[in-house]
Amino acid sequence: MSIQEQTKLAKGNLLGGIPANGAVPDTGISLVDENKEAADDRFYYATQWQLIRWRFRRHKLAMIALTLLLILYFLAIFAEFFSPYTEQTRFDGYQQGPPVAIHIMGAQGLQRPFVYGRTKKLNQKTFKYDFTNDTTKVFPIRFFVRGEEYKFWGIWRTNLHFFGTGKGAPPILLFGGDQLGRDLFSRTIYGSRVSLSIGLIGVALSFILGIVLGGLSGYLGGVVDEVIQRTIDFLISIPQLPFWMALSAALPREWPVIKTYFAITLILSVVGWAGLARVVRGKLLALREEDYALAAQAAGASQPRIIFRHLLPGFTSHLIVSLTLAIPGAILGETALSFLGLGMQPPAVSWGVLLKDAQDLVAIAQQPWRLIPALFVIGAVLLFNFVGDGLRDAADPYSA
């Protein structure tokens, strides 16, 4: 018997000659720590998500962005504590005032950071407010200071603030004051609570709907596909503007502003799934013809199992990109709606509301500090995008 015949038969019995090494592609590239057997084992048996996590950690920009985002969320969660004042506290004499300067050089030379009190006077010539520091008395900045009383998460009553000048002392307005003399820094922190959370729920709901319906449409085809597709066409083609207006007028009027806004966000997410569903369907159409789907089918896997277990991971990276675009999209959407006067409205505080306040040539020309909340919006959106980019690269099994 020739070698060839021997080996042919042999192969019939056992696929492949050498134990294959996990899912490592044949490029000679793999990723593990040096010389660590334990690490090697871990690598070979790592699940897809563990792999994503490890790869993500290597993405420096994404890690920095994630850290900053977490800090933002942390500040938002503990807004009452981190902001020196409540979002509604007014300081007479600080209306439209620039940020309060922090000094370290006092009369006695270098000392702990402090602020001066100041007085406001309308300049009769320029009609601008002139602010003069009263340098006779210094007010040191303290950490964990007792200041204005507030209800933490609406539950505990306390007056502890992360920093401040203490009760009765002239305020420290890091970002300056607004029209009514409220602390823009505190308002920005309070506003982040609404702005950062508002998108999450709607986006989450949109995503579940989009993936499920898009998945069914793409995999099942036929009548289901047709119905879902036409529904998508319909939903996508209707401008959202008139709907917002109709809905904001039709919701119960007793609801507070935030509740109304959340309600509309939720309702719109029911519309928002359409775009994603279309993408999911398109990808599935391409993938379901691929061998592994057929293989799974042949192996008797149930349809939903095939879709969600075998096909979905095939375009996770695309979903993640969509997701990371959707959340900042919601943040931007909130500002756009506030701009049109359809979103959040004062006295509620959100970044959109603060941005609306800053949409003023006077702000741009003469009081640029009022644009600081805009930096937060841009920053948050950028951070989400960086994180999304990192996730995309990490989720891509072929990335280096």
Binding site: D92, Q95, K128, S248, A249, Q366
Partner: protein, 671 residues
């Protein structure tokens, strides 16, 4: 720059025309290059003008002789327009010092020169408010917005009988519509009998101003036509206020009584030929609803800036013409305008008004700063004053701070809101006083009005407008709101949690911060106020449906000193107002103190404006407001920033800003 050259061009052209005896016809605007070379030396010939000294002498000698605008003179020469004396009425309205604006507001009125364009902007769809006021011509007139010293305007003159029931009016003989047709009592008759008298067009008959006592349910006055230029209106009860109702008050125009019947008859079934009307109806996609066709083609004064009214015959200083660009409104001088200055020159001085549509008021201000706006009032903001001031030299405009014709924000508490506890509470004057005293008005003035406002001493009075938290708290304790919840908010008198839902619209930029500040300040006396901004239309319908519990809005009639009386209840107690307008058939009967307000109104409407009796009643009205506090006025005397090109002359220095618009025909461009 551009304007200087343009004006000097005009001067040159006028000079040339004078020299050549009008042989040459060269429209100034069309051949700028040709004349430019001679422009510079010619400018020197024009007498230097200084705005502070007596500028009457400044009018260039050359055009002193010309009584009409050069462009019109051209048309006359070309035979396309009748000569000036045929276009002017026999007795034109003469504008001079203290006529359109009082001498206090405009101390140095000067006769002007022709020419120039006023560039402005508007932000409402198909509606340019600044221009509307400039165009508007009421039947009768008094300087500024005053109703104190009423004289003829479109109507030449009038007589009133002793008991204020019979009014005799005289039209200006020779007065012409902008298409050259004469204005006669036929036009009056048409409006009164065929428009107000036609139940298809006016199912409810003549408006309230033509009814006894300005009462929507009152008996309509009777019109008697004497001849082509004289007619009488007779009422069954004294209605001295009728005259006021024919002035600018309420932004009325002459269309209330005079419309171009020669033009409108073609749409009116009583006059039009059946087949012609049918053709017009078919063109408008209508079957036989001719009254719809009529209304679509009729223009009342507030339609004058609408695109659809281009070509409609008017008596306004400028006429709406088709513009060259989308979103731009252009107005050109009316060759048949019936006002002249003291030199006999036909008004208006300014050739053209161009108003550009803006979507965002903020950006109008950018256009102001670049010097692209010559006149602006409606879209300015007090908050922008520092920005205006910083750029006015460079862009060549003046920022004039004048009075606002409405009193900015007031806190309205709905006394007929459908909630028993609330009603009992809010009808207790002590509650209203407490809220009034809890408001730190100085903070409103500082934060929202940049100190350009005053305490509401006229309508609220010294005591109630004084910021006094202790007294407010004491009063609130007194009315049964002693109990407080864990957060320090007062419970209602019924022991239940208490909160005021304050819904406000977005009609003006100060409403929202005012509402916020009201809520924040009332919190300090333990009153919980939930603020919600709603769409302006929604606000309107909720107000009409008596669904607003509380709101901030402005009170309207500062300009026309009708005081804080009956009209207040439209917002602060819609059900009482409904009871009143429906003669007790609908709504809820108001208490005696509220009825007093309407009684005062009726009395005032029957007295002649400006009379001692009238002024006494006016004071009584304010006193009534101070005693009863039907509305918690927050500030009074708010200022209004007005932008005017530095070269514009006859711009008032005091008084109401909007009065400057109203006197637009006497504005002119100096050097």
């Amino acid at each position: 720059m551009r304007k200087v050259r343009f004006l000097s061009l005009l001067a040159v052209v006028v000079l040339l025309l004078a020299a050549c005896g009008g042989g040459e016809s060269a429209p100034a605007a069309e051949q700028p290059a040709a004349v430019e070379a001679t422009a510079a030396p010619a400018t020197g010939a024009v007498t230097e003008t200084t705005s502070t000294t007596d500028t009457a002498a400044a009018a260039p000698a050359a055009d002193a002789g010309a009584k009409e605008a050069p462009a019109l003179a051209e048309l006359v020469k070309a035979g396309k327009l009748p000569p000036l004396d045929e276009r002017l009425p026999k007795e034109p309205f003469v504008v001079g010092p203290g006529v359109l604006l009082s001498k206090e507001d405009l101390p140095n009125w000067t006769p002007g020169q022709y020419g120039g364009t006023i560039n402005t902007a508007h932000s409402v769809a198909d509606w340019a408010p600044d221009v509307f006021v400039m165009l508007n011509e009421p039947l009768l007139q008094a300087p500024g917005l005053s109703v104190q010293d009423i004289k003829g305007n479109v109507l030449k003159s009038f007589e009133v009988n002793a008991d204020n029931t019979e009014f005799t009016f005289h039209l200006r003989e020779g007065l012409k519509w902008s298409d050259g047709e004469p204005v006669t009592t036929a036009d009056v008759k048409f409006v009164y009998e065929n428009v107000y008298g036609n139940e298809k067009i006016s199912p409810t008959g003549p408006p309230a101003r033509f009814r006894n006592g300005f009462d929507p349910a009152g008996e309509p006055g009777k019109l008697a036509i004497t001849d082509d230029y004289n007619f009488k209106m007779t009422f069954t009860k004294p209605y001295g206020g009728f005259l006021r109702n024919l002035t600018i008050e309420g932004w009325n125009g002459y269309t209330e009584l005079i419309r171009p019947s020669h033009f409108l008859k073609q749409f009116h079934a009583d006059f039009a030929k059946a087949d012609e009307l049918k053709a017009l109806l078919a063109k408008a996609n209508l079957k036989d609803e001719w009254w719809q066709l009529y209304t679509q083609n009729d223009c009342q004064n507030w339609n004058d800036t609408a695109d659809r009214c281009i070509g409609f015959p008017t008596l306004n200083p400028w006429l709406s013409v088709k513009s060259q660009s989308t979103g731009v409104k252009t107005f050109e001088r009316n060759p048949y305008y019936w006002k002249v200055d003291t030199d006999g020159k036909q008004l208006p001085y300014v050739d053209k008004i161009v108003s550009v549509q803006v979507e965002d008021v903020e950006m109008v201000n950018q256009r102001v700063l670049t010097g692209d706006i010559d006149y602006l009032r409606e879209s300015t903001g007090l908050v922008k004053v520092p920005l205006y001031k910083e750029n006015e030299e460079k862009a060549g405009f003046n920022t004039v701070l004048l009075d606002m014709h409405v009193d900015a924000s007031a806190l309205f508490l709905n006394e007929t809101f459908k909630d028993e506890t609330w009603r009992k509470l809010v009808r207790d004057i002590r509650f209203r006083q407490a809220l009034s005293m809890a408001l730190n008005r100085q903070e409103f003035i500082d934060s929202i009005y940049y100190s350009f406002a005053a305490l509401p001493l006229t309508s609220v009075g010294d005591e109630n407008s004084k910021y006094d938290v202790a007294k407010a708290n004491a009063l609130l304790d007194e009315v049964g709101m002693k109990e407080k919840d864990a957060d320090g908010f007062r419970m209602g008198p019924d022991g239940k949690p208490f909160a005021i839902l304050l819904e406000h619209g977005a009609h003006a930029p100060d409403l929202q911060p005012s509402a916020e500040l009201v809520a924040a300040q009332l919190k300090e006396v333990g009153i919980k106020v939930n603020v919600k901004r709603i769409d302006s239309t929604l606000w309107g319908s909720r107000n009409t449906a008596n669904e607003l519990q509380a709101t901030v809005f402005w009170t309207h009639d500062q300009g026309w000193d009708s005081g804080y009386t009956g009209g207040i209840f439209d917002i602060t107690a819609p059900d009482w107002a409904l009871w009143h307008t429906s003669n007790g058939k609908k709504g809820e009967e108001p208490p005696a103190w509220a009825k007093q307000a309407w009684d005062l109104d009726v009395k005032r409407w029957s007295s002649v404006s400006g009379s001692d009796e009238y002024n006494k009643l006016k004071e009584e009205g304010y006193a009534w407001s101070r005693t009863n506090l039907p509305v918690i006025q927050i500030v009074e005397g708010v200022k209004y920033a007005m932008i005017a090109n530095k070269k514009l002359q006859n711009v008032p220095q005091a008084g109401f800003a909007i009065a400057a618009n109203f006197a637009g025909e006497q504005l002119w461009y100096g050097q």
